[in-house]
Amino acid sequence: MSAAAIAADQVRKVYPGGQGLTALDGVSLDIRPGEFVSILGPSGCGKSTFLRCIAGLEDISGGTLGVDGRPVDGPPDHLGMVFQRDALLEWRTIEQNILLPIEFAGKSTAPYRAAVGQLLRLAGLSEFAGRYPRELSGGMRQRAAICRALIDQPGLLLMDEPFGALDALTRDQMNVELQRIWMETHNTVVFVTHGIAEAVFLADRVAVFSPRPGRIVEVLDIDLPRPRRLAVRETQAFGAYTGRIRALFRDMGLIDEGAADAAAAPATHERSAVA
């Protein structure tokens, strides 16, 4: 079936070199149009590499990878991308930054002024159109970067740990805002993160990656009503999803609570010795 926005089948990625580092080892995942999928995994598991392959920034070494039914060969059209650091250009105002994709597409920017205003309103940045990135906080900058990714109405939005550099509170806020923006635009979103709660909160489905070489160990359907509020994270249903993922990570040896137990043991020993 070619209705998938993204169709990955047994995608492999091997970096050439001495031993030939294998980053992706048979990743298969179909993503439907308009779906929000989180790619979750530990640092260095190849989840960003997978995203870069979809973006056409890296060649795949094996398998097939298609976007909108066409095999990926260089960056696909109608693609918006948000990076870990906002990648805003410091010498351009926020509005000029958001219009960059229009300029690069060789189109006149004048007809897009209204769209910029609309996106800025959606992102809560209306007063900052004429400001420079250095005048904005980290969270505001990243929202501006999201506006830039959305300005040319991309069917597909790729986000590579976009909130990884933000503090926890700002991150929560950004999750809420991203959900709101997504519910209005309904792009297909692939969201890479190493935050379990963030992945579950945002996504329709969460694809859990194993440590390198990257492989998908499980895909979870997140069946929580939208719009989700931050409080959803305290519900039992939410806890069941994050608990399931944590169990997967424990099985892969990524979480080791034995160390905590071991640390607790001598302490009690000491105390009994004193007593």
Binding site: L57, M81, F83, R85, L89, E103, A105
Partner: protein, 255 residues
């Protein structure tokens, strides 16, 4: 320990006070020890010398200023162009970079007389020497700057599929600007050195010529008068470039 931060005006006043203090100390020592002007003239003697013939000194200063600025401007244009070629083409880099490094390790002062043979005794050889001394600073910093585009921004450019020229003018060049301007701060001082060296080798005008000819007649106050003008010019040129830097790259905070 934290250093106290001073407001701009006080910072300037402090700098000025230390210069005035230095001149006063100099004046006092020369008078107290009875040093002869031919060995070390007091600042008052030097200022009197400048005041007596200020029109002539200004003329010489401007001659040196123009050759300095000529060499400086040329070094920016050629330096940035060469840096663009070096960054743009691997083949060009491998072929030309070793040559540039080899040329740079030749002391430019040593080849200055050659320029007199090639270009005569007018302004041209001074401009050429000022250019030659300054250009390497620009090349090195511009290459560094053009290579300093962050990976995320490079990826953004590829995803947006901009035309190479668009990407260069709208992303790469502005990214490199802080580095290039840091290079110009070094280059302006070097251009001045080059212009003076050019005047030392062969000239009938300029501050370098004034110094050399006054030295021939043991007219030490005149040598110092020219050195004073040079110092003043050096400070003003550097400040002008630093001012341009702050205006052009306000997002960049140089240390």
């Amino acid at each position: 320990m934290m250093k106290t931060r001073f407001p701009k005006a006080r910072q300037f006043a402090l700098g000025l006070a230390s210069i005035v203090g230095f001149l006063l100390l100099w004046e006092l020592l020369v008078r107290a020890l009875g040093v002869r002007p031919v060995s070390l003239p007091a600042p008052s003697v030097v200022l009197a010398e400048l005041g007596g013939e200020w029109r002539w000194y200004l003329e010489q200063t401007f001659y040196t200023l123009w050759t300095t600025l000529g060499g400086f401007a040329l070094s920016i244009v050629i330096g940035v162009l060469l840096a663009m070629l070096l960054v743009g083409s691997r083949a060009f880099e491998h072929a030309v970079y070793p040559l540039i490094v080899a040329l740079n390790s030749v002391p430019k002062v040593a080849v200055a007389p050659l320029f007199v043979i090639w270009m005569g005794t007018g302004a041209a050889p001074k401009v050429a020497i000022a250019f030659l001394i300054a250009v390497f600073a620009i090349i090195v910093d511009a290459v560094h700057g053009l290579r300093s585009v962050p990976q995320d921004v490079m990826d953004l450019g590829r995803v947006l599929k901009g035309k190479p020229l668009d990407f260069f003018l709208k992303v790469r060049l502005p990214c490199a600007l802080p580095s290039i301007l840091a290079g110009t701060k070094v280059a302006i001082s070097l251009s001045l050195v080059g212009a003076i060296v050019g005047e030392f080798v062969a000239s009938q005008r300029g501050l370098g010529y004034v110094i050399l000819s006054a030295q021939g007649t043991f007219d030490t106050p005149r040598v110092f008068a020219a050195v004073f003008m040079l110092a003043l010019m050096g400070i003003m040129l550097f400040s002008a470039v630093a001012w341009c830097e702050r205006r052009l790259v306000p997002w960049h905070r140089p240390q």
